[in-house]
Each structure stands twice: as structure tokens, then as C-alpha cells.
Symmetry: C2
Subunit: 225 residues, 2 copies
DNA sequence: TAGATTGTTAATCGATTAACAATC
DNA sequence: TAGATTGTTAATCGATTAACAATC
């Protein structure tokens, strides 16, 4: 009765399919083929069918996939039905941008808590949420936090992670460029924006470094993740 | 005389090693073993040695790797010596955060251009750069842009990508959650913040959905990328 | 039935890892 | 020389892809 394991690579593509399906649904489309879905998601059709097969068999041969049904299935397997409140810790430039980012609430992750240690920020309001002091994280009268986002300087990221864990948060998205460790049972995912620029720099450099010497050098494309 | 191909997975880890090496250098450390580097980067030692072997043989058996030398090599292979100006298009919450993000300039990517279509924003200054109208992108008297960052709504992302390409930009980092296409020879990389939350949600849900039924269920950890 | 499209197989490709000979 | 640590091999594992039988 246990659900089949979904490969990591597939997990990373499910949100892309979900976004495409949501767009299709908004456009009134009710059925989609693996070929169409692949085009819209930027992958190939074999991969789409293989990925969706891990969810079960929700397509109809000769017809395609039901947009609504597939949306529901992916959403449910991603845990989006239960995932809710996001707390952002650290309201510097990045934290403030994330707090105001429409994309989060739009895709099922309302920002319910904002925390900082700067007294000049505590008490002020941002995107409809009042910034609280980090020391109040986990207080009984505080917001129900399902996911913690770390947007602090690297130097304090581990301390913030520890506080989030102590407050009962079991899923953390970390933007600080440093290694942090969390106990077993806590899910941690990292995003490093400068790293993305460096990786981009590598492929750009690789494909163009020799342009002056050899203008006819073939351009290979970088993986888009 | 051509450099050996570096696997994509390795390219994604080189910036992590570079960050660790920079920290070590700052702390006065001159030599590091694959074991130490692995610990600090959050991977295992075999992977570090394999990854570094693609750069050539810069270690010394029985001793380790020279911190300075390795930093230089990685930095050079990532193209960080030539990579320079970043232009950010779209100065909503995310774009403004990226423009003010210290991490970019700190790691070799100074923000030299800011572009938007909103006349209320054009002419104002942000992080020391005056916001210009998108129509002036690529103007002869404009900044030299090596990397373009798209931080606009999804609906206009393709148009912005086309304009960046027309202006001669050959490397694009795209934050808009939609599929965009660029001509061969242009390197595109995508970051989708809400997608990261959804992937996090999957692993969290998978590892905890059954907690109520089976509190002793083993917790598996999510890949941190 | 005929055409279309899924779901699955199997081959291929790329990434990871342990082990150890090479060598400082 | 003895101890330490790299660089590389080879086995294993996971991801991708084309092909096609199943079937709507």
C-alpha cells in the first residue's frame, strides 16, 4: 500500500508539469498529450510519460492525460494540500523580496511569519505581516509554521536553523551560502543565487572563450536544471 | 590542447569548493586535504578528488591541495576572470533584492545595469545604479553587460530574453517561472523559487505524512542539490 | 476498425563510491 | 623509510531515451 518511490530527478520536474497544467486549465484545456506537455515544459515526451508513470496510470491511451485529474494528483503527491505557512527569517534585501514575492502565495505557500533580530525592523509590517523578534519564534501564540526560510547572513544561518528546529519546523529552505546541518527528520534544501551565476559563467565561458580564435566553434547548450 | 570536459554535476559543485577555499584562505589555511574539503563542502572525499581531477592534477600525494592554487584554478575554469557586469531586468520585489544583494558583487558579479519599463522607476537610483528604460538596453553608451538577469513577470520574460539577445547578451539567468527559448549560442539557466518550495514540500510530506500512523518511521533525507 | 497515444521495456549514458596503487 | 593522501580504476547506481506492444 506504500506509494512507489519517485526518483529525485522526477520530483524536480513535477512542479514544472504542475505549472504548465495550471496554465492549460486556466486556458480551458481539458486533455493534454505527453507530446504537448513535453513541449510546454521544455523536456521530451518519453521523459514526461516515464515521470508520470511514477504517479500511477492516469493517462488514457489514444487520448492523453486529463488536465484536472493530473493537476490534482501531482499537487497531492507534492504535499501541497497540507503544506502551508512559510516563515522567513532575516529581512534584509533578499528576505524582504521573498516576503513580498507574489509567487509564493500564488503557488500555495502563504507567508505567515517574519522574524529578525533588528529592533528597527521588529514591529513594522511587510506584505501584511508584522515582523517579530527572532526570540519569539515558536511562541505558543505565534503563527503555525510548516516551512522555514533562512535569508540571513551565512554567519548566523546555523543558529537560525537550530532555532527553527527547536520551534518544531521540519522543512527548511536555506539561502545562506554556507554548510548547515540539521538533525535527521528535518528536510533541508539549499538555494545559492551567486552559485547560479557562477555555473552560468562556466557554460558561457566554455562555449565562448575560443570565439576569437575560432568563430565557427559549435555552441553547446548548458543544462537548464 | 583542449580542456577535458567537466561533468555537469561537477560544475555544480565547483562554486561550493571555491567558497570553502575562499573561507580557508581568509583563515590563513594554505593546504587542505580532500577529506577536510569534503567535510566543509558537505560531500564525500572520493567525490572531491574525482571532481578536482577533472581540473588536472593540482594536489600533492601525502600532503593535500594548495588552497591558493586550487582557488585560482577553479576560478579560472569557471570563467570568473572574464565574467563581469550583470544587468537586471525587472525591478519588482525580486529584482530590487537582487540588485541590492551583496552576494553578487562579493563573488565577482557587479551589477552594472538596471532596466524596467515603469516610468516611475526609470531615473531613480538603486544600489548605486540608475534605473534605465528597457528600450535603452544595448545602447552604445550603456553599460557592458556580460550576464542578463530576468526578474520580470512570466508574461514578458520571452520578450525580455529576446531583447537581451538582441543587445548582445549571451548568458541569461531567468527567474520567471515559464519556458523561454533562446537561440543557439546563448546560455540560459533558470531558477524558480516557488519550485524549490514545492520540491521541499514533497520530501517533507513524504517523510512525515505517515507520522501519525507510524511515529517510528525512519526519516530519509532529501537531496540538497 | 484505424489512428493515436500511453505505459513499459531495455539499452545507453552519466554520476557516485569504495578501494587501492602510486607517490609525496 | 613510514605515514599520509592523491589520482584512478572499476563496480554500482540512477537517469535518460528510443522503441513498441498494449489499448483506448
Amino acid at each position: 500500500m506504500s506509494l512507489p518511490r519517485i526518483p529525485d530527478a522526477t520530483v524536480g520536474r513535477l512542479p514544472v508539469y504542475l505549472r504548465v497544467l495550471t496554465d492549460l486549465d486556466g486556458a480551458g484545456v481539458t486533455t493534454v498529450s505527453s507530446e504537448q506537455l513535453a513541449d510546454l515544459a521544455g523536456v521530451n515526451a518519453a521523459k514526461v510519460r516515464k515521470d508520470l508513470s511514477y504517479l500511477g496510470t492516469y493517462g488514457t491511451r489514444g487520448v492523453g492525460y486529463g488536465v484536472d485529474y493530473l493537476r490534482f494528483e501531482i499537487s497531492s503527491r507534492l504535499g501541497l494540500a497540507t503544506a502551508t505557512g512559510v516563515a522567513i527569517v532575516g529581512l534584509g534585501n533578499l528576505g524582504r523580496a521573498l516576503a513580498s514575492h507574489r509567487g509564493f502565495a500564488d503557488r500555495g505557500f502563504p507567508v505567515v511569519g517574519l522574524f529578525d533580530v533588528d529592533d528597527a525592523k521588529v514591529g513594522t509590517e511587510l506584505a501584511g505581516v508584522t515582523i517579530a523578534h527572532l526570540d519569539t519564534l515558536g511562541a505558543p501564540d505565534g503563527p503555525a509554521v510548516a516551512i522555514g526560510v533562512i535569508a540571513t547572513p551565512a554567519a548566523v544561518a546555523q543558529d537560525v536553523a537550530d532555532r527553527l528546529v527547536a520551534a518544531g519546523v521540519r522543512a527548511i529552505l536555506d539561502f545562506a551560502p554556507t554548510l548547515i546541518s540539521v538533525p535527521a527528520g528535518v528536510t533541508l534544501r539549499k538555494v545559492d543565487l551567486a552559485l547560479e551565476l557562477q555555473v552560468l559563467s562556466y557554460y558561457h565561458h566554455r562555449d565562448h572563450a575560443l570565439d576569437a580564435d575560432d568563430p565557427a566553434a559549435p555552441s553547446r547548450s548548458a543544462p537548464t536544471r
